[in-house]
Symmetry: C2
Subunit: 178 residues, 2 copies
């Protein structure tokens, strides 16, 4: 039987970019931005210095050192048993991140084959059965079932099935199996 394909975004889904930004900002500016104040606001607008996020994502090492999202490793491993899992990251906007994202995946998700990693720009040409992503710009145009992974910036989005964390992702797919 051909396995169904789940495409999984990296930033704010596998990789906890939000926490990484909050920690980096506190380290560099001495201000810890409250996650409650980030709800429904684009990440780039959520910090007092409006250029900070843009500067961070262009900084060598930023993507290489991002913490793994809670529960992601175990959940992706479990999904890989029944599904063909592809990592699909819109990395091309930040070329310095290409090798960092590859190396980060090698370190934290070594069970994902290089054959199943896609670093791209626009994700609308990826033919998956599901896409787990935190951005409507990707989910609105995906070919499969769009699944919105919660992040502060998407708190007010009411489109798409929302999954708040990796535990809810596993729960969603376990219901598919039964």
């Amino acid at each position: 039987m051909i396995k169904k394909i789940i495409a999984i975004d990296m930033d704010n889904v596998m990789a906890d970019i939000e926490t990484h930004l909050i920690n980096s900002y506190e380290r560099d500016f001495g201000i810890r931005v409250d996650r409650a104040a980030m709800q429904g606001i684009p990440e780039s607008e959520a910090f007092p210095d409006k250029k900070a996020v843009w500067n961070y994502v262009l900084t060598p090492g930023f993507f290489r050192t991002v913490p793994v999202m809670d529960g992601a490793v175990e959940a992706v491993k479990k999904l890989s048993e029944k599904y063909e899992v592809y990592v699909v990251s819109a990395a091309m906007e930040f070329p310095q991140s290409l090798i960092e994202k590859h190396d980060w995946l090698q370190e934290h998700f070594p069970f994902i084959s290089w054959k199943n990693i896609i670093l791209c720009g626009d994700k609308s040409v990826i033919a998956s059965d599901y896409l787990i992503d935190d951005h409507c710009k990707n989910l609105d145009f995906c070919k499969g079932v769009p699944l919105l992974f919660s992040a502060s910036h998407n708190a007010n989005i009411t489109k798409h099935i929302r999954l708040n964390n990796w535990s809810e992702v596993l729960s969603y797919f376990s219901q598919k199996d039964s």
Copy 2:
């Protein structure tokens, strides 16, 4: 009207890897391998030192310095007028090539947006209407019309529509339009 999508492979289609290998081998080993003797033979087997090709593709700078395939720039530019063109390269096997391929495209094909570049492993999840590629491992499993771009190594392949050069690619698509 939504443009149809053409996915285009880089190595041996946009980038003349074969010539780059022949030139590199002559430079390093003093032997110029005859293209006629390479017909129907895997590239890695076509040179006296069987490890040479593998070493070259792992060498920093190799992909950054490959010559552009004859006629590719003008043809891709022309195709971009009527089609949505995506560059799709199985670069993930050679991680050091990721940034080199990005930079090479920026230099030689600056009119291709970062949104339309896909560096991946397996190409079977790319939903294009056409795939121009020199390898059956990609063409056999593609979702659109497979178009075999001629290279010495694929000389004996009889599957798929064969296009010998970029002039024939343009001719093929101009007939589609009429």
